[in-house]
Amino acid sequence: MSGPIVAQLGGAPGITVLRNKDLLGIADLTTDEISLILDTAEAMQEIGSRDVKKVPALRGKTIVNLFFEPSTRTRTSFEIAEKRLSADTLNIASTSSSATKGETLADTALNLEAMRPDMIVLRHASSGACHLLSRLCHAGIINAGDGMHEHPTQALLDAFTIREQKKRLADLKVTIVGDLLHSRVLRSNVHLLTRMGAEVWVCGPPTLMPTEITRFGVRATSSIDDAVADADVIMLLRIQLERMQGTLFPSLREYFNVFGMTEARLRLAKPDVMIMHPGPINRGVEIASEVADGPYSVILEQVANGVAIRMAVLYLLAGGPAHETAA
């Protein structure tokens, strides 16, 4: 009778706070911190099922969503998360900001800082932009995607989605296929999954593979069949059309033929395989429509879980006394 109320998925981690004021990347998180975020997200998930989807945890906190790259999905996900925690949100999109008047990121940051926001969620086209902001601002910085570097909340929601269904991350075969070279989602996922004990395979043409990729603790192959054989999870990454012009591969058609996730390839994986994609999907390029819409796809669950994960991250960074902004 006490079962569902008292039982806790994942067990209690050894810690209850994050060490840093920012979330710049998975590379900076310990396994305990990753578990803490995932466990906290579970509690946050429940809030989304209530009638009144709001808790006062971040009441009075100001959070700025500073997005230099267009994004509907990630930005609205953060915004919903912030509002559910009762924070005051401010959305600044690059086209309307002074960036178009030539203001540097450093100056934008200092101007914002003068208004004392508690947290800044930054998405930017340059790798390392969040590190720069973190050095200049007292506010906690959450990386919503910086160039080709990391997209930590995406990897966290991916892990959360996997854990929800598979009840663990360790010893799962997770295969990631696509434009590995330019993908920040790849780097974050590789850090997180290898750290949590998964067996990670990456697959793509050599032209789309980062240098020394195996040094990140993954198996790398250009054979899609080897990559998906007995996979528990298959993650597809978006192929950008512009890369074709960069002579990285000859055509979308060829990419789909060699690497596209089709129903036939799906059958090589485990019978309960999960198909994931950070979105937006290119139907017929990295993934066949039937697979995207099929029963193995958890693409929409990923989106839903994004809000819970972002609530967890926001709460852990902004919600406690350990992170009252200094001076």
Partner: protein
């Protein structure tokens, strides 16, 4: 440090409280238990069991996590921060009399947070507060409806409730002085 209540005493106290609940509410119709995590949940589960023995009826049971409802003063407590856990109230609280269950009533701030949380869940007919120990030193105008034991304490002292579901025994311990 001294043991204020042992296993036997706790059990009899919960039985006594259960009877009080039945008497005051003239039965368990429209009642629901909501325990405040974590030990309040263990207590509410035990109360549900005793109420079933007494009345033969099931009283719905839920678990409330108030971490996200703490006020500033509670957030500044020095010491390990609590982990946020799931709230699970698998029934509608509308038009019910909610028995809010917690282990220790002290400043009243936890109860205030719990009331805020419950109001977000719906419109209960009434909320009654059940606590195992009331140690005084209220900072808000909060009063318990059912008290296991009134225990006057000094501000420096601490009251620790151990329950076998999460600790290894049933015991209420009072520690006077500075050491925790």
């Amino acid at each position: 440090m001294s043991v204020i209540m042992d296993e036997d005493r706790i059990a009899r106290t919960l039985t006594r409280i259960s009877h009080e609940i039945v008497e005051r509410n003239r039965g368990v119709e429209d009642l629901a238990l909501v325990g405040v995590r974590t030990r309040g949940v263990h207590l509410s589960v035990r109360l549900a069991r005793i109420l079933k023995e007494i009345t033969g009826q099931d009283v719905p049971n839920g678990a409330l996590d108030i971490t996200l409802y703490r006020d500033d003063l509670m957030r500044q407590v020095v010491g390990p921060q609590p982990l946020v856990r799931r709230t699970e109230i698998p029934f509608s609280i509308d038009d019910r009399k909610i028995l809010l269950v917690d282990d220790v009533l002290y400043t009243g701030r936890t109860t205030r947070a719990a009331l805020d949380a419950l109001i977000d869940f719906g419109r209960p007919l009434a909320i009654q507060l059940v606590v195992l120990v009331d140690r005084g030193h209220r900072e808000l105008p909060i009063k318990a409806d059912y008290v296991g034991k009134n225990l006057p304490t000094s501000a420096k002292g601490s009251v620790q409730v151990c329950l076998r579901e999460s600790d290894d025994r049933d015991e209420v311990i009072l520690r006077e002085g500075d050491a925790a």
